[in-house]
């Protein structure tokens, strides 16, 4: 049974051979595979092969209540589920005209930034893993567990937090949580130089990553690539600054720019933004106001969102994460479209970028682009 269309270069049997990368390959993140046609050690053609993870989220959402979807959407991005929840809730709140209390907005910023740091640690580990430096993933995932601990304490769940709710967040911050958060930020600041020594200043890593997978700025914009990948190509675009949502306009932070556009710049970009996240979190700890953490909305069975359409977006660790929500005034959404940041990179740009790439650079490219396959399989 052949489900995939035959590759063009496949016809020439004497020149190329087929190579699977994924779905359970250490060099790939998640259940997803690329089918590479290799000419020697060079990629001649590439066919992304998605659909091995979840499927049909958008359709499922049309059959569930507005609030029931909150248990489903975190699964669209496993390493950073909170962007889904926040973007969805922001869209619903905009359509339903719900004013979210200031405290809830601060909590949301903290959750988003913590999730971003967790996802960046994944990316650092990914580069280490794909180049054979296994200390890096061990360190990064170990440190990420501290973030998950904080999430577990705040939300009751470790990976899927299911913490946001239209109108605010489900629980207020527990006593002592902010102190623990400050301690954790201190810890991360002390860890960063060690990461630098291990990964970023490592001559082998630099050799493997520098100059690999060069992405020119124009091409990035053309292909809808956003987030740190775009900024690594020298375009200063961050939704948090350009179109501030939540309370990002009340917070003081920079958008660092690397600009080289290669694989190393993309990881370094994340390393620099990691520090900015720490900066944002420190301000949040100081500035968070007292008050209610949510406003009441009608119960799930009667929560009707007025008819309309809205595209809400947040800046995730991988780029612009958006929810296009269409409501016809019913208790269920009429249509939801999820715009994941990896969709444009991993599915379309990959076909262009990987041509003529050496086989050992493919995992480096995948991990520095921080491709998260559940995005495609939504």
């Amino acid at each position: 049974m052949e489900l995939r269309p035959l590759n063009v270069s496949n016809k020439n049997k004497y020149k190329t051979y087929e190579l699977f990368i994924g779905p359970n390959h250490p060099g790939i993140s998640g259940n997803f595979s690329y089918v590479l046609d290799m000419e020697g050690h060079k990629v001649a053609n590439v066919t992304p092969d998605p659909g091995l993870l979840h499927r049909g989220f958008e359709k499922l959402m049309e059959r569930r209540l507005w609030t029931q979807n909150l248990a489903l959407i975190p699964r669209i991005c496993v390493p950073e589920p909170d962007v889904n929840e926040v973007a969805y809730c922001m869209g619903v709140e905009h359509l339903a005209n719900i004013e979210v209390p200031k405290r809830a907005q601060y909590i949301r910023v903290m959750v988003l930034e913590l999730a971003r740091m967790g996802a960046f640690l994944f990316a650092f580990g990914g580069l280490g893993g794909s180049t054979g430096l296994y200390t890096m993933p061990n360190w990064a995932f170990g440190d990420r567990d501290y973030i998950l601990d904080l999430f577990e304490w705040l939300t009751g769940g470790r990976v899927y937090h299911i913490y946001q709710y239209p109108g605010g967040v489900k629980n207020d911050i527990p006593n002592g949580w902010l102190d623990k958060l400050s301690d954790l930020l201190d810890y991360f600041e002390s860890r960063l130089p060690e990461y630098d020594r291990l990964l970023f200043k490592n001559p082998i890593i630099q050799r493997r990553a520098k100059g690999v997978g060069y992405l020119p700025a124009e091409e990035a914009i053309e292909n809808g690539i956003t987030g740190p990948n775009l900024r690594a190509s020298g375009v200063k675009w961050d939704i948090r600054k350009a179109q501030p949502y939540l309370v990002y306009d009340e917070l003081d932070f920079d958008i660092p720019i690397t600009g080289e556009g290669d694989a190393f710049a993309r990881v370094l970009q994340r390393r620099l933004e990691f520090e900015e996240s720490i900066k944002i979190l420190r301000q949040c700890v100081k500035q968070i106001p007292d008050g209610p953490h949510r406003v009441k909305i009608p119960n799930p069975f009667q929560f009707r969102v007025p008819a309309g359409a809205y595209y809400s977006k947040v800046e995730s660790s991988k780029g612009e994460f958006g929810y296009y929500i269409v409501s016809n005034g019913d208790i269920r959404p009429y249509r939801i479209y999820v715009r994941g940041p990896s969709y444009s990179v991993g599915l379309f740009y990959a076909k262009k970028a990987m041509i003529d790439m050496r086989i050992e650079d493919v995992p480096v490219w995948i991990h520095t682009m921080d491709i998260c396959p559940p995005d495609f399989d939504r």
Binding site: Y146, D149, G176, K180, R271
Partner: protein
Amino acid sequence: MMDAKKNGLAPVSALKYLFKKPHTVRYPKEDLEVFSTKGISPNYRGFHTNDLEKCIGCGNCATVCPASAITMVKDEKVEPKRKFATKYRPVIDYGRCCFCAQCVDICPTGSLQMSREYIHSFHPDLSIPVEEEPESVIKDFIWRPDETNSDNPGYVRVEGDLLNKTIDFDRTDPRTKPAEERKFSFAKYVYTYSKEEAEREASRCLGCGHCVEACPNQLHIPEYINAIAKGDPQESLDWIYKRNPLPLICGEVCTHQCEEACVVGIQGEPLAIRWLKAYSASNVEDYRKALEVQPGKPNGKKIAAVGAGPASLTLGYYARRLGYEVTIYESESKPGGAMMWGIPKYRLPKEDLMKDINTILSLGIDLKLNVKIGKDLPIDELLKSYDAVFVGTGNAKPMTLRIEGENLPGVMQGLTFMHLVNEEKAPELKGKRVVVIGGGNVAMDVARSSVRFGANVTVLYRRRIVDMPADPEEIKEAQEEGIEFVEAGVPIKIYGDKSAEEIEYAIASLVPDPKGGRPRPVVDEKSPHRRIKIDYVVAAIGQHPNLDFLPEEMQKKIGFDGRRVPVDEYGRTSIEGLFFGGDLSNRRQDIISAIGAGQRAAKGIDLYLASQK
């Protein structure tokens, strides 16, 4: 920015990690200072716990579950504490559960919680053949949560934490006139909801249908409330009419047991189901046009109904829709029975009453007014000339006080008084002192009507105010209107030469009921006696059916004991073709029960006549 740092000694630097703390997760796992317990964080979402006695089996957890992991399964062993609780309890399939805690957030009683237990270990028995495996797997994955893990609570919604529940607990009451204003007029003092108010109130409904069981006629309550929330009063009325052809009357004066059962009322205020019904009924101008109701195809059978009260009118409506020819005989000059003569205008304006009744009559029901069965027309004749006869004459014989002086002029019965009020022939009461004896809704109607005529009113009740059978809001509003209540007051004697002048009553001591019911008032020698000057005494202590229009042997044959007519589910008696319904056979004497009896009798008559063919 990050230049490569070449250092020949770099591999040696790894040695320093030998002396560092191992890289394992330390908090919250080991943060005893903060959590005071070992293990995972305090509000972890683990396996469920459920207080099976507190749980009422409403099924909201099962409905809200995004993964359809919860099924409500009957458990014969549980003994629920609350009234109206069912025996169904949630059974959770942990193969589907995603631990999102939406069931905990919605649980109206707060019985469903989550624990910090999360380790799922099961031991498949390898000796079991593959074909039988599903059985054993089900046992490992699907179970009914009880209080097993409740000593290790995780994600809990404590009682009183209303903000974090996903139920809206705040009731929107309709606007009312203040007591100072309303006590001088017979005009209706409760305004109907505006569209926004009604939709806001309707959107609090969870749709669980727990109220349906409590309703004497099992109206489609969740459906009609949902239609209001969608902004469609007409659809709502359509649902109401399926089981109640008197929507506006019930919307205004129903005893609303549904609100007692409403699950939102367990932690907050119940939905105003009654006012919502009034909203949808008063927002449709012409019921028949809106609902496109037509009488059924004539089947040539004739039914007679005695008494034009709610039971007969309901029977008439549903029988007419089945194609029967219906004639209603009424002894008074207007239809409506107790609704017309017993309920004061400020609660139920006559035009609202007639709106409902006229809709029913417009289906082609023959209403014969001023005909007294037994006097103008014997019942035997009815039984001969009609295929079936329904009797719904209600409670017409008042209970007497059985004290000295109760036959003096100035001493009246509650229903007689209300009849006079509704005929606008009430005695001059301005500045007079009125004592009302009793604590039911009739007593409240008498007292509040008297206040509107300018009287000083005292209500004498033999138990406490909380024991009164009248609706609590009626009592509250009566108190607001300046009516004085005397608790544990038992009338002893009425004094007077030509008319009642003074009443003597004793303050009884209340003996608690060992079964937990209402306390029993006991008057003995030690009870203090008091006397007050009065102009009128109105006794409203209950009524009995009056079946004097039936021949005595017929009364005996149907087994009438002076209080109630024994009937079966469909209102049948031991006389063929004779059906009874309404207050004279119902356990509860209210309009909605009478409507239920009327509808069941319509079905009973239909079944009976179908079997005659």
